[in-house]
């Protein structure tokens, strides 16, 4: 989620410290695993916030500069990504996504959270979560296509 092992380890530690501090506030309204997962994601969000990803204005923060946005490639029906996608290529492409896109993509497509859960975690609208996920997938498609050599395309 943060794309860096050392940082992930620091955040793991921080999540356990938070757990230690907040365990008394667990009321059993949700499963403990859900509560713990949310707590861990909040630790990640705090870190992203520190690094400059404002989650208050998530729309702007996640909107990359115009030249960084997913390109709209109209057509090229011969360039399909059907069939198996190379896992490592996809992991690389995910790691290269802007932080906001990566977060939504991982929460929804990898971790399996629903858009309403993501909207509540990130304090954004459900529509925003859906459209950002779409843009993230488009950007991944562009990156995967770019990794395909011209020979393989023919």
């Amino acid at each position: 989620m943060v794309g860096n092992v050392a940082e992930a380890e620091d955040l793991t530690q921080e999540a356990f410290l938070q757990l230690h501090r907040k365990i008394a506030t667990f009321r059993g309204d949700s499963a403990f695993s859900t509560w713990l997962h949310r707590l861990a994601i909040n630790v990640v969000l705090m870190q992203l916030r520190k690094k400059g990803l404002s989650l208050i204005s998530l729309d702007e923060a996640m909107e990359p500069a115009p030249d960084e946005g997913p390109s709209r490639s109209f057509g090229a029906p011969d360039l399909t990504l059907t069939g198996a996608i190379d896992r490592l290529a996809l992991e690389r492409a995910v790691a290269d996504l802007p932080a906001g896109y990566r977060l939504i993509f991982i929460l929804h497509d990898v971790e399996g959270f629903e858009h309403n859960e993501i909207a509540s975690m990130l304090d954004c609208s459900i529509g925003n979560s859906k459209s950002q996920l779409h843009k993230a997938r488009l950007k991944l498609r562009d990156a995967l296509r770019a990794q395909t050599s011209p020979e393989e395309r023919s």
């Binding site: 380890e9 996809l90 995910v94 990898v110 399996g112 779409h134 488009l138």
Partner: protein, 79 residues
């Protein structure tokens, strides 16, 4: 605003796509998609990516040092 959605070009449809998805519309049922192989293929590719995502990032056990550090950090907190 464009008129008949069936007459929309791929460029027009794809320019509106993230907005349509955000509004909760079933884009697969959109009249343009119904008549356009190219945009159907685009949506299929995006679904393929979403499916491939499920096999990403298998959970990784942090190394033993991380647990040792967590243990000592917790002891510090209790002091």
């Amino acid at each position: 605003m464009t008129g008949d959605p069936r007459k929309m070009s791929c460029a027009e449809f794809q320019a509106q796509l993230s907005e349509l998805i955000g509004s909760g519309e079933d884009v697969a049922a959109h009249p343009h998609v119904q008549g356009c192989d190219r945009c159907r293929a685009l949506l299929a590719e995006l679904e393929t990516i979403a499916e491939a995502a499920r096999q990403l990032f298998p959970s990784v056990e942090p190394p033993d040092e991380v647990w040792t550090q967590i243990e000592s950090a917790l002891k510090q907190e209790e002091k």
